[in-house]
Subunit: 454 residues, 2 copies
């Protein structure tokens, strides 16, 4: 049966079908550290919409599960492909079909990398705002599938705010054009938004009409503020938000994170216990805004340093950007992704401190403080997440929900958080969402076991 | 049977059930000019979520159609209630439950008027950006149900951009809490977005968590530019968009509209054939932006007048705001709502001129030129839309679709555009959307005959 499926795929798609052991092995995993059980049947490297349709028609006819995949940089296991499954990669579909600076839109294939797209857009004076930390290595299609966020979201929005339309191939191979090219449009149900963040459970995104912004004019001003501890830094970030000045970037690093990055980058060790805010303003009044923010931070007990120029500003941000490599020096990492209302950020850091004490763990944490999205890092030895880490993570999720927050701000549910999905949605909404997915995919062959798995 | 339903409603909801003839007559219609056939069974004036749940449980048990209603200001007939149906009004649920300026959110009941909400928010230094022209008389719940837009959308977004979560009562009376309170959140499918613009087909919105903005600081600068004709004005508006300066408001009035408003307001008649752009900039660099825009407009052949102060600026905008009353002086009006990519605005006005010639009609048109949303007004005598007007409207829809546009930018499908819905969506997507609605409402009792009616 499996051999039949591969034979059918090869007959239709020829060299687009890859069954080399190393390729199959790679398709089992993403950047979450988790890998699927068993080896995929095959990888289909689709080069066109027709390739995607052909693969899905064969999958439907043979009831074979299909896992859509971009660059495999997800952090929740959503693209991991296991035994008996087809990995359907759209990474090779990476063309930019159309750029319209006058209409502030671009039509693209899903496999283009976020950073590559923005490099192509820049000469047109426009950009696509979603900026996940992975933007150099993650695809636009993957950003759409996960509903990605990033550092600039509080000011410039998330993926949901930046997509006008999506072309979607259903499980049975039919192609739908969802959404519109106009700024406004309310014709029927908003299926474009439904697909954003659906993690491959509704169909395969084979094209997107993206909403662009004009490049931001004026200077960027970057500053850092050191605080005695993480709670003081979190309170200060809430004070910045409450001041009404909107930074482009406001990142918080706790003491363990900051110390680990300084070690990695061979910078002088920060004061013991010190946490740091890194803030950037942009636009025509960036300098004025930075001055207001510096005053707020100083009043909140921070030691403020303002970058002299753009180069020094980039160096300050590089500290934050080195977080993931710094964590990798400490061990295997499970990166969590809870999000809370901005005012609850100090309380959420208190909860992390409590969970560290109760479970005897160190949980280095950074936060997109401008939007209340935290990434606590559970660090451990060996490839598998120990039970105590999952127990602590569960406590983290409960704490976030109790503070009016959510399980995942920007990484998605995938396999790693599926067992807590109903805790947040409630059983009725969980079942409703699953039933909606079934309308798109009656046979249940699209990314089974992800998001809605019982 | 009908008597039984009303008796059941009265037994449960008492004085909340209104069957007075004048009330029933009013519930047949909205502001579209269209009215449903027959009289509703009853109006339920829900005062609480429990009232909505009770009414829907009775409706489900008796298979009675329910039409959710806010203030009845819709322009597509979506809230019109006819024979054998219950009109379920949430207008009396108008409390603001919570305002959090620090988290930039508010939790509200659906029946509050948009303008009343913003009056309550202003002392907190925040506002809810969606600003349909009806904002003084339309409810937040209705704005959500239609996915409303307005004048400020190109700069400040539409309803879809301004809602974090929705509380929804399903057809069977169950209450779901959709969405989240945090800036980011990708837990499961984005059902909040699916409900926005669903026109009462998925459930009854009984609460909403709204995303707020801080009040815009700085001055507002208002200017107008007169052009020889509507095409020149449309080309100039596209030039403004292409210049990269983002006005808060950019409204276009064609010659017939402008002349009618000047007559209504007893202003001097504009030059024959002249069309007008009315533009407002705001924020810290409003004056600089207005200067750039004035230069663009002058270069495009416009005669520019800049308001000396805010009072004069409001007077200039009042001309645009008097459009609807001015049309009412001409006859009965069918207000259309097509939306096209901004660069296609001049071509769309050419199409309107062609349709005027071919069908022997005068079609006064205004446009939210900043976002490509046009409101051509078909004016006729008597209460019913003549066949020639529908034929011309159909030609208008086809032209908008051919230019990459959409049937409805902000008013919705309701009853008036349902027969063209599949033309835009395609048959496959139309059926998929209908099947999704059935997941929420298996008995098909929610607003039957609207949006998806065959």
């Amino acid at each position: 049966m499996s051999a039949d499926v591969v034979a059918l795929l090869r007959a239709e798609l020829g060299e687009r079908v890859d069954t080399r052991p190393a390729s199959l092995e790679a398709a089992r995993a993403d950047k979450s550290g988790h890998a699927a059980t068993g080896l995929p049947l095959a990888i289909v490297n689709a080069a066109s919409v027709a390739d995607v349709q052909a693969a899905l028609r064969i999958a439907s006819a043979t009831r074979t599960p299909v896992v859509p995949r971009g660059a495999g940089t997800g952090l929740a296991g959503g693209a991991n492909t296991g035994g008996g499954e087809i990995s359907l990669s759209v990474r090779a579909m990476d063309r930019v079909i159309e750029v319209r600076p006058d209409d502030l839109l671009a039509v693209v294939e899903p496999g283009i990398l976020n950073a590559d797209l923005n490099a192509l857009l820049e000469p047109h004076g426009v950009w696509w705002a979603p900026d996940p930390a992975s933007r150099a290595i993650s695809t636009v299609g993957g950003n759409i599938a996960t509903g990605a966020g990033g550092l600039l979201c509080a000011k410039y929005g998330v993926v949901r705010d930046a997509v006008l339309g999506v072309d979607l191939v259903l499980a049975d191979g039919r192609l739908l054009h969802l959404g519109h090219r106009s700024v406004k449009g309310v014709t029927g149900l908003d299926l474009t938004s439904l697909v954003i963040g659906s993690e491959g459970t509704l169909g395969v995104v084979v094209g997107a009409t993206l909403k662009l912004r004009r490049l931001v004019e004026g200077e960027r001003v970057t500053l850092t503020a050191l605080f005695e501890g993480v709670r003081a830094a979190a309170v200060a970030s809430a004070a910045v938000t409450a001041s009404g000045v909107q930074p482009a970037i406001m990142e918080l690093m706790d003491a363990t994170s900051l110390a680990a990055v300084h070690r990695l980058l061979s910078l002088p060790a920060p004061p013991v216990g010190a946490a740091q805010l890194t803030i950037q303003t942009d636009g025509p009044v960036a300098a004025d805004e930075a001055r207001v923010i510096a005053d707020v931070l100083t009043a909140a007990g921070g030691h403020v340093s303002v970058a002299a120029d753009a180069v020094e500003g980039e160096a300050l941000l590089a500290v934050r950007r080195a977080m993931h490599p710094a964590m990798e020096t400490l061990g295997t990492t499970l990166i969590e992704d809870v999000s809370v209302p901005r005012s609850a950020l100090p309380d959420m850091f208190d909860e992390i401190a409590r969970i560290e004490r109760e479970f005897g763990l160190v949980i280095p944490a950074v936060a997109h403080a401008g939007d209340g999205n935290l990434h606590p890092n559970f660090v451990f030895d060996g490839p598998d997440v120990p039970a105590v880490v999952w127990d602590a993570a569960e406590e983290l999720f409960r704490a976030a929900l109790a503070l009016g927050g959510t399980l995942t701000g920007e990484h998605g549910i995938g396999v790693l958080k599926r067992r807590w999905l109903a805790d947040e949605l409630g059983d009725d909404q969980w079942q409703l969402q699953r039933d909606i997915a079934r309308v798109f995919d009656p046979l249940g062959i699209l990314n089974p076991g992800k998001v809605f798995a019982p």
